[in-house]
């Protein structure tokens, strides 16, 4: 592991520092509250996995008998898929990834390059422990002896970073020697396709309770010897995963220890080879670290979603129209629209593709059933889910402006107006995409339910509410979200509180809308002889009252957002 005393000291100090930073963050009431909630959420999550496992073993129905040969094959395929994803994604980290605060210090220090590799490998293995534990708990369900399944999976997950690092170093070396530069776009496209293919294959085999998937899984691993996984060439390709599969699915202690020894031997050999490999990775590491640092900075600024994408130089000439006028409000909204236009090129294309595919899927689902009855339900549900997904993916809100809030506050406009103007372009974009979905569906199904205009009226209001709740909370308790960093507890807590608040506000909205609709239903039932057209009118009126209620809620959120922006203290609130 880490052999250099200074690097061992650095690891200890950084670990201590991370705890200390976490504790310092809990000194404020907000930080403490979110940390406690986050800790509870994480503990409950782990606890539910462990307890669920124990409960299903002790009290659940007896598990179906597992064919040992099939279990090994399936485990081998699962581990190989993880290894494959790991190897593909490690191609994106050329050389050795070293964080920005370490790279120049370590490269200019009297420390050998192999010591640096050993240090980084150890850090990566420690970092993967959290995920390894969780996956190991999950793996206990489907194996003959749960404890063997746990350790088998744990050792496998802890070996993946070493395989990945070895490939990064070797591919980096090959790039240095044989290629001037592999286009990053090609690597990314290949990575995406490969990862999607593996995930699809994985889902195909392991989606439970679906006859169709089970049949396909059986066909792949069938006992006649013609299954894909039993193919000689496939078994050679998947050979690296065989010891882990043997360990995880072992039925007896001697069998487990046999595979355990092999797996640990491979782990040690890989660690030794990776740290001794004579590759000068410095230039590649500098590039990789610069790339990762920029990406993290974008994540920190954009808070995830489309803010992560780079500003595309190809669209500098593109201009967004001044949709909201030439006043202060219009100018603020235009600025945000330009940011969306120039940054979200890829995100927009992805969103349009997803929306188009979903529209076509929903349309055929409607056509296969009773279009008249199903259409409003499908359209409503698709609009709701589409709004939730797109609001998170196409995120252009105050996260992007966290470093500019002092400037925003100097603009000659009321804070609520700045709040609304900042969020309105994102609301408009999401609304436009959802309208597109409803139009595609209408064209394919050739039906146009009278409820559709009501949905169309509700979409922008609901979208604004959804986005505004998030931003009000963000402005009251801003965090820079970077997965896996020291604010993990606070982020988990904040995400949970946000979810609860959204659910609460959503339930108020639905209750506000449901009460008048309920009264309408009651009237229709009492006066049974009421004509159908009058009944529909009553439904519509109820919906409109609900919509008015939602509008009121949106206004309250705009006010709350303005208040949050006004009380935002750039000296202390900016994390």
């Amino acid at each position: 592991m880490i052999t250099h005393p200074a690097l061992a000291l650095l690891t200890k100090r950084k670990l201590r520092g991370a705890f200390r930073k976490q504790i310092r963050r809990t000194k404020t009431a907000k930080g403490a509250a979110f940390a406690i909630i986050g800790l509870l959420v994480i503990l409950l999550w782990y606890g539910s996995v462990i307890l669920g496992q124990s409960f299903s073993r002790n009290y659940g129905s007896a598990p179906a008998p597992v064919d040992p040969q099939r279990a090994v094959l399936m485990a081998q395929f699962g581990f190989f898929s993880l290894l494959f994803i790991n190897l593909i994604s490690s191609l994106g980290h050329r050389g050795l990834y070293i964080p920005k605060d370490e790279i120049e210090v370590l490269f200019s220090a009297p420390v050998s390059r192999s010591a640096i590799i050993r240090y980084r490998l150890t850090i990566n293995i420690l970092k993967s422990m959290f995920g390894a534990l969780l996956l190991s708990f999950f793996a206990m369900r489907r194996v003959p002896v749960p404890i063997f399944g746990f350790f088998g999976t744990f050792v496998a997950i802890q070996t993946l970073p070493i395989y990945g690092q070895l490939l990064s170093l070797l591919s980096g070396n090959a790039e240095n020697k044989f290629f001037d530069r592999i286009p990053k776009g090609a690597v990314r496209a290949f990575t995406t396709i490969a990862v999607v293919a593996v995930i699809a294959a994985f889902a195909l085999l392991f989606m439970p309770g679906r006859d169709f998937w089970d049949k396909i899984a059986q066909r792949i691993t069938n006992e006649g010897g013609t299954g894909i996984l039993q193919n000689q060439i496939v078994s050679y390709i998947m050979a690296p995963a065989r010891p882990w599969a043997g360990m995880a699915t072992a039925a007896s202690a001697p069998e487990f220890f046999k595979w355990f020894s092999v797996s640990i031997g491979i782990w040690m050999l890989l660690f030794f080879v990776a740290s001794r490999i004579p590759v000068d990775y410095r230039e590649l590491s500098l590039e990789t670290s610069a790339d990762v640092a920029k990406r993290l900075q974008r994540v920190r600024r954009g808070g995830g979603g489309s803010g992560v994408f780079k500003l595309s130089p190809r669209v500098v000439g593109w201009r967004a129209p001044w949709i909201f006028g030439r006043g202060v409000f219009g100018a603020l909204a235009w600025r945000k629209s330009m940011s969306m236009l120039r940054k979200a090129r890829v995100a927009l294309m992805v969103s349009i593709t997803i929306i188009a595919l979903c529209s076509i899927g929903v349309s055929f689902m409607i056509l296969n059933r009773s279009p008249e009855r199903m259409e409003p339900w499908f359209s409503g549900l698709a609009s709701l889910l589409g709004c939730i997904y797109l609001s998170n993916f196409l995120r252009f809100d105050f996260r992007e402006d966290l470093d500019k809030i002092d400037i925003l506050k100097t603009y000659p406009a009321a804070c609520w107006k700045i709040f609304v103007a900042t969020l309105i372009p994102q609301t408009t974009l999401v609304t436009a995409l959802l309208y597109g979905m409803l139009i595609i569906k209408g064209v394919i199904t050739r039906t146009f339910h009278p409820a559709i205009p009501l949905f169309a009226a509700a979409i922008p209001i609901f979208t604004f509410i959804w986005i505004a709740v998030d931003n009000v909370i963000y402005l009251f308790a801003p965090t820079r979200a970077v997965a896996g960093q020291d604010t993990m507890l606070q982020n988990a807590g904040r995400a949970f509180v946000l979810l609860l608040l959204r659910m609460f506000i959503l339930s108020i909205t639905f209750a506000g809308a449901a009460i008048p609709v309920g009264i309408a239903v009651l009237i229709i039932n009492i006066f049974a002889g009421i004509p159908e057209s009058a009944g529909q009118l009553l439904y519509g009126a109820g919906f409109l009252v609900g919509l008015a209620f939602a509008l009121l809620e949106a206004a309250v959120l705009a006010w709350a957002g303005g208040l949050a922006l006004r009380r935002f203290d750039v000296a202390s609130d900016r994390p």
Partner: protein, 267 residues
């Protein structure tokens, strides 16, 4: 300026070249520096100063030429050579989660400094970081980061110090402390390479100057020699010398390709 302690070179750069994507960033550069000497490295943006310093520091690999530190080849005897070096980058990035004092503890371990605590206290006092000793790296201002970087570099009493724009972000007191400590370090026998666009600073501290333009050496020597060979006036300032030298070199280099972009620097 006091004269350097020794004329024997402790760092020797011979015929060093560096290319990025086929374009030269540093072109057949040769120079050396003796113990106790302060060498001012000046040149316009893209001249190859930072690339040269980062290669000497071992951050970038060397592919053409030879760099020797106390006789150790930076390519083959990398770890031995680096034992004599300290590197102060233009934008220091301390560890977010380590306190100021823990940075010094780490650097002491890195360079195997025995009984480092007393020297650490002296440095913290000198660079006015005593009050910040328990502050985390991520909480420090630009100037504080620079001061911490000095403390870490000075701690092992290095034989060669590489300074890239060392005064950026420092307040007037910090600038004075930094200048004093550079001079003191040199008087104790440390060789200092000082890269800066602040020509007054270089003129004040450096025994010799090395002017680079488009990756090429266009002058190496004392300011008096520069006045004699480059400047039009006998009392020319370093700024005037620099302007004349780089304009002339720019004229002579007209038509040649511009120097290549350096490798990414992490923001």
């Amino acid at each position: 300026m006091p004269e350097p302690a020794s004329a024997e070179p402790v760092l020797r750069v011979v015929d060093f070249s560096k290319k990025y994507e086929g374009k030269p960033a540093v072109d057949h550069l040769t120079f050396d520096i003796a113990a106790g000497e302060i060498l001012g490295l000046v040149g316009p943006n893209g001249a190859g100063k930072t690339t040269t310093l980062r290669t000497i520091a071992g951050i970038l690999p060397i592919k053409e030429g030879n760099i020797r530190i106390f006789g150790f080849d930076i390519d083959r005897d990398e770890v031995e050579a680096k034992k004599y070096l300290a590197w102060v980058p233009d934008d220091p990035q301390p560890f977010d989660t380590l306190t100021v004092y823990e940075h010094l503890e780490f650097y002491a371990a890195l360079h195997k400094v025995q009984n480092w605590q007393q020297r650490a206290e002296e440095l913290l006092t000198r660079f006015e970081l005593q009050e910040k000793r328990d502050a985390l790296g991520g909480e420090l201002s630009r100037g504080m980061r620079q001061k911490l970087s000095f403390c870490c570099a000075w701690l092992p009493k290095p034989k060669i110090v590489l300074l890239d724009e060392p005064l950026t972000g420092l307040d007037p007191r910090g600038i004075r402390s930094a200048k004093q400590s550079i001079v003191e370090l040199a008087s104790e026998g440390t060789a200092v390479i000082l890269s800066s666009h602040l020509l007054d600073l270089v003129a004040e501290l450096a025994h010799r100057i090395l002017i680079l333009n488009r990756g090429r050496r266009i002058f190496a020597g004392t300011i008096a020699e520069a006045r004699a060979t480059i400047a039009v006036r006998a009392d020319a300032t370093l700024e005037e010398i620099f302007m004349t030298a780089t304009e002339n070199a720019g004229d002579s280099a007209a038509g040649t390709s511009a120097a290549a972009s350096p490798p990414p620097k992490i923001e």
